[in-house]
Amino acid sequence: MTSAGRIGLVAWHVFKESVRDRVLYGIAGFAILLVASAFLIAQITAGQDVKIIKDLGLAVIELAGVLMAVVIGVGLVSREIDRRSIFALLAKPLPRWEFVVGKYCGLVLTLMVNVVGMTAVLYLFLFYAQSRIPIDSQAVLDSPVADPRLLLVVLMIGVELALLTAVALFFSTFSSSALLSIVFTLGLFVTGLLSADLRHFGDIVDVSPVVAWCVQAVGWAVPAFSAFDIKSQVVHGLDLPRGFVAGTLAYAALYVGALLVAAVSLFSRREFK
């Protein structure tokens, strides 16, 4: 059997395990509830109904995705190592790098399935809204109610989650505590969200050039989770600059690659007492 075959086998089993994981359903169910409540919230804000539904819906999908990526990404591998169910597996003719890559693919697959599911629910709500809002009102909106371009936003969210999963996997391959891994992953996520400000630190705050340079270097080095946010653009019906999507995908691919190399390298050296 080829590498790809074994990786696929590991990935498939990761997916199977997460499908049977109740935590996942909890998060997904909660997310769907929130998207539903977007209708209620839309009443409170002055006449921004459709925009609110889109904004809130996308935000919920992203947030739920983040939770899943972190909790499941860390939990899966940590649990395996903790409970030592990994021992029998590692004695098989499965190189360690294939194990790591297989785990990653399985986790990403799980996340994508969930994101697609939640997106479908969002679109259901949007189609319902579209049927209820009179046509002339719809004409003055920035973008169509059930806008297919929202899929672009979801794609970006998916790529963002793939990067986050790589971070979670990286931490859990060498950290001995699941809680610590979760804290680190979330910490890096928040830092990544603020990385744009860090990158321009010297322009905003008055500090010595050395300090500014250090902070800016950190801003460039951490995974830039804020770089995937095109929600505002799409919801307002604005165009994306040419090469934006391709550039973002390339960024994510390179960074994920680097993280996987690091994870594989660490995991290959790891010993199991």
């Binding site: 190189p95 600059p241 550039g247 190399v261 690091a262 390298s265």
Partner: protein, 299 residues
């Protein structure tokens, strides 16, 4: 197979990957940047809803909105937009103070921002006064709010009677400093002329603890000094006219007539402007002391 790649090589590879990624990101942001967010939307305008939405984290939410207010003020002040300039300032300040009704700085600085004349601010002394009144509603004995309302009247609306009565009220409140009583009296008697203004401002310079208020007082004092200078210059022009029989054609004439030692400048170093056809002296067009406040143009 434990590791194909030695540890050093792995670290280099990872570092190279991250650097390459950063390079791609930089390229994307320079070649295909997203236009900066034109987002000027406030979802929450109702204080009541905000109160509920933020549960027990009202104080922190107030801080966040305060920061937004400051950023909004700063951003709009630096930008060239004319449409809807500073239009979110009052709602943001209102929300801040609803979430935290004792947020002292939000009331005082907020009023300063709101009252500031265009283009440096929205030029809404009425909103400034409303904000300070709200502060007084929750803290009826804070003499600073009453004093600030008096000041807004004095400086921006030109309603000296109202200013004096507010100074009076401030003087009645506990812990009010002694000089307020005097300011109230002076304002009442002299109806807001320059001497009174000079007195208030000098007191502010010595008593204010906040740099910003002190700097504002300094600037205002310089404006008053400029007005004094204009009066003096107008007097000199009159003297020249009496002596020579016509208006001077420029500052040079006055210098040659030994009425002036040199080119007259205001405290920012900008030369005063002189219109030879009318004989009117005014602040130089580029002077940062412009615009002059309403209530003080007249003697």
């Amino acid at each position: 197979m434990t590791s194909r790649v030695g540890p050093v090589a792995a670290v280099l590879l990872v570092a190279a990957g991250i650097i390459a990624a950063a390079g791609v990101l930089h390229a994307r942001d320079t070649r295909a940047p997203l236009p900066p967010s034109q987002e000027r939307l406030m979802y929450l305008r109702s204080g009541r809803v905000a109160d509920r939405a933020f549960l027990t984290f009202d104080a922190v939410a107030a801080d966040v909105y305060w920061m937004r207010a400051i950023q909004h003020y700063g951003r709009d002040r630096r930008s060239l937009r004319q449409d809807g300039r500073f239009d979110l300032l009052q709602p943001l300040l209102d929300l801040t103070t609803t979430l935290d009704p004792y947020f002292n700085i939000a009331y005082r600085f907020g009023a300063v921002f709101l009252a500031m004349d265009q283009p440096n601010g929205p030029g809404r002394p009425d909103q400034a006064i409303d904000l300070l009144l709200k502060g007084l509603e929750h803290s009826p004995e804070r003499w600073q709010y009453a004093h600030d309302i008096g000041f807004v009247h004095y400086w921006y609306t030109g309603d000296f009677t109202a200013a004096a009565s507010w100074f009076d009220r401030a003087a009645e409140m506990p812990d009010a400093p002694g000089w307020i009583r005097q300011v109230a009296a002076v304002t009442l008697v002299e109806g807001g002329d320059r001497a009174g203004a000079r007195r208030i401002l000098s007191e502010l310079l010595t008593s204010a603890t906040d740099d910003y208020i002190r700097n504002a007082a300094e600037r205002s004092l310089q404006q008053v000094q400029a007005l004094d200078a204009i009066d003096e210059l107008t007097g000199l022009i009159g003297q020249y006219r009496e002596r020579v029989g016509r208006l001077p054609s420029g500052w040079g004439d006055l210098v040659r007539a030994r009425l002036l030692p040199g080119l007259p400048v205001d405290s920012t170093g900008t030369p005063f402007a002189y219109d030879p056809s009318t004989g009117v002296v005014s602040l130089g067009a580029g002077s940062s002391l412009l615009p002059l406040p309403r209530g003080l143009s007249a003697r």
